[in-house]
């Protein structure tokens, strides 16, 4: 339990926070984006923003997989779920994501057979035990979950399970970061890189951020002290005029990632020419569909999809929140019309969404900091 003590240590957090403050040049503002929703969750839950000097600003990125699913894709999934003999499956996080005509939960109430699963392998098992039904797994997630989907398709193919297919909505973190770097309304000084995505892709794919854009990126773990330490490392790079990829989370993330996982993705999936992200619009080469060779397992080829693009509700400002331009509470409907129970936008649905994280923890954060740093 030595590690726990080390990482739970309020005194250590205080020392680190003071060190962070001393690395800041007076009068200079530092804006860092945490790409991953898991980090957003940690930041709000532990009130890290209150521990940081005012000049260090954290903006939340697009790294919450359900937050970036556009409304039209939810509608397409519900369309599939409403076909005869279909059992639609997905992760629990997907159930309340609003589409143009309601969510999975609404469709389920209206009679569609939609089931929550823990793993795509559970969806495959449902297919095996329901040979007369067509079982579809709505796959969502970044590179962290894509290997699981790929491995499941390989397994289905090896076993010859013919009534199983995947509706792939896998998105890629690198093109999203690139889109944000290219967007004119955002000035960032560096990135807190996603932890578990990097366990798959490794650290090399981020090198262009340092090389071509001159910004540092530190791959970080999910504990509060991990996040503080990565901010400390980012400030160190900025102070020394360096821009490099550093790995704060080496205890989980190998520099080269997981070769087996990347091979599975490479075998089963293909890059789409473009894909729509909620709030960010269409991004080239930013998502994975199934490869031609696995067409028999591709729900997009099996079912006739409406594929209609649905504009986000007028009141919704998720796009600005996902790009880090707006803070959650600056959205007009935050906490009033839009809450985790009745989400208007996706950022309020998953506990990793910036709006939900702030709604659940934001107001407690000051007390928590006081607790954590009490000597």
């Amino acid at each position: 339990m030595r590690f726990v003590d080390e990482y739970r240590d309020g005194a250590k957090a205080r020392v680190l926070a003071a060190d962070i403050a001393s690395r800041c040049e007076p009068g200079r503002r530092y804006t860092f984006m945490e790409v991953c929703g898991g980090h957003t969750h940690t930041i709000y839950k532990h009130g890290l923003e209150d521990l940081l000097p005012e000049d260090v600003v954290l903006v939340h990125g697009p790294g919450c997989p359900v937050c970036v699913i556009p409304m039209g894709r939810v509608d397409d999934a519900i369309h599939i779920a409403s076909q005869p003999d279909v059992i639609m499956t997905s992760f629990g996080d997907m159930m309340r994501v609003p589409g143009g005509r309601g969510s999975f939960l609404d469709a389920k109430a209206a009679g569609a057979d939609i089931r929550m699963v823990y793993s795509p392998l559970d969806a495959l098992k449902i297919a095996r035990s329901n040979p007369g039904r067509r079982v579809v797994f709505m796959a969502i997630g970044f590179e962290t979950t894509a290997p699981s989907t790929a491995m499941t398709v390989l397994r289905a193919a090896a076993e010859g399970v013919e009534n199983f297919s995947v509706f792939s909505n896998h998105v890629l973190v690198i093109p999203a970061i690139k889109a944000i770097l290219d967007s004119p309304d955002q000035r960032l000084d560096g990135f807190i890189g996603p932890g578990h995505v990097s366990a798959v892709i490794g650290c090399r794919p981020y090198e262009f951020i340092a090389r071509d854009y001159g910004r540092p990126l530190v791959v970080a773990g999910f504990e509060p002290l991990d996040v503080l330490q990565s901010i400390h490392m980012l400030l160190g790079q900025v102070a020394q005029g360096r821009a490099e990829v550093e790995n704060q989370y080496a205890r989980v993330v190998p520099w080269d990632g997981n070769r087996t996982a990347l091979e599975a993705i490479g075998t089963v999936m293909r890059m789409r020419p473009h894909f729509e992200w909620r709030g960010l619009g269409f991004i080239s080469h930013s998502a994975l569909g199934l490869a031609e060779e696995y067409a028999a397992y591709d729900a997009e080829r099996i079912f006739d999809l409406p594929g209609v693009r649905v504009a986000d509700p007028k009141a919704c400002q998720c796009g600005e929140v996902l790009k880090g331009v707006l803070k959650p509470w600056e959205c007009k409907v935050f906490g009033t019309a839009c809450t985790p129970e009745t989400p208007i936008g996706t950022c309020m649905v998953s506990s990793e969404g910036a709006c939900a994280a702030y709604y659940n923890f934001g107001r407690f954060s000051r007390e928590r900091v006081r607790e954590a740093t009490r000597s």
Binding site: M1, R2, Y118, G141, M151, R251, A261
Partner: protein, 90 residues
């Protein structure tokens, strides 16, 4: 869904080399270890489990630290454990 949960490897599955039983906070479930073929996993090793797949091998101290962190998360962790409990990978 993005949470990685540490699990302790209990035993390999004799019928399928890609599967193994792990213990996650007292819950024993079969998961897929096919992504860690290069790691030469043994009973007693700890792995980070993500949607039914072991994604990385981790040290025991790291596993304890992550578990402690997850317990502090409250609802999000409870939901993940509930989902895992309903899982029946074969």
């Amino acid at each position: 869904m993005c949470l990685g949960i540490p699990g302790e490897l209990i035993a390999a599955d004799d019928d399928n080399p890609d599967l193994a039983v792990v213990d996650v906070g007292g819950v024993r479930r079969r998961i897929n270890v096919g992504l860690l073929v290069e790691e030469d996993l043994r009973a007693g090793d700890w792995v980070l489990v993500h949607v039914g797949f072991a994604l990385s091998k981790i040290s025991e101290s790291e596993a304890q630290a992550v578990l402690d962190y997850l317990e502090g998360l409250g609802q999000a962790y409870d939901d993940e454990l509930d989902a895992l409990r309903q899982s029946d990978i074969t």
